[in-house]
Symmetry: C2
Subunit: 141 residues, 2 copies
Amino acid sequence: MFSQSCKYAIRAVLYLATRLSEGERIGAKALGEALNIPAPFLAKILQDLSRKGLISSVKGPGGGFFLSEDNQNVTLERIVECIDGPEAMHGCVLGFTTCSSANPCPLHVQAFAYREGLRYQLAHQTVRELALRINRENIKL
Amino acid sequence: MFSQSCKYAIRAVLYLATRLSEGERIGAKALGEALNIPAPFLAKILQDLSRKGLISSVKGPGGGFFLSEDNQNVTLERIVECIDGPEAMHGCVLGFTTCSSANPCPLHVQAFAYREGLRYQLAHQTVRELALRINRENIKL
DNA sequence: AGAATAAAAAACCTTTTTATCTTTTATTCA
DNA sequence: TGAATAAAAGATAAAAAGGTTTTTTATTCT
């Protein structure tokens, strides 16, 4: 469903949203260690996200990655799009180019329900909202 | 979700189930052409399925791939397992090793509910049953 | 028996994904 | 100002997925 990079990206952003206090920043290395993700690889991913304005960063001593107020209003869907591309959650499960409810592939109904359900969450839930739930329900990253 | 190989495998098996009459067989080359799948690559996949007894084959002139009575009782889940491995539909969406309903990842509830729906179909629907529906509803492959 | 056919098997190549390493640039702070 | 820090950028490496080619083996049909 999601590429490895995309999974890393989601976990990293949620870490920034839930574990960093106001004004605090974290470097790629420390974040990699905290989440058990290869740090140089994670750095690449964070730079992608930063370039597209989904997360923020500052260079130099005391610098690192963090989320601005704006960044917290980003939906998970945009993060997925940024890393896996806009088609990540839209293609047919069986790879049919013509698959639709009018012209369904053999697994269309089940697959569509599954994916749309998840996609709805990703599209409608912001990082901020999800972060609140993670804290409230004490969910691990 | 499914690898390219797995998508090809499912389509190929469903072709055998719906387009071949009693006693008929089809070669990898013709099947590749019919389904728009690179034939040599498809051949390898078919050989995997054949080795594990999910489809049948005979060599030599007039030979090719086909489904025995037994083969038609195979579930799609077994085909997916054969090609993508047993964990294909079981891992956490975010790649957490510890993800479960007791210890959920941030997307667990949504992802789990919808994925189980699809998995249930794959696990309980045989190739024969799906083939009937494909014929009844005139679904394209 | 021998030619033709087609799967099985094995080796190989290409592309994409995942991961690492090195250099450069911007920032802070002493 | 300059040393230290950390992101940005780019180049490289390793592994996996996707795809092709070649050789071998089994079967059929003349």
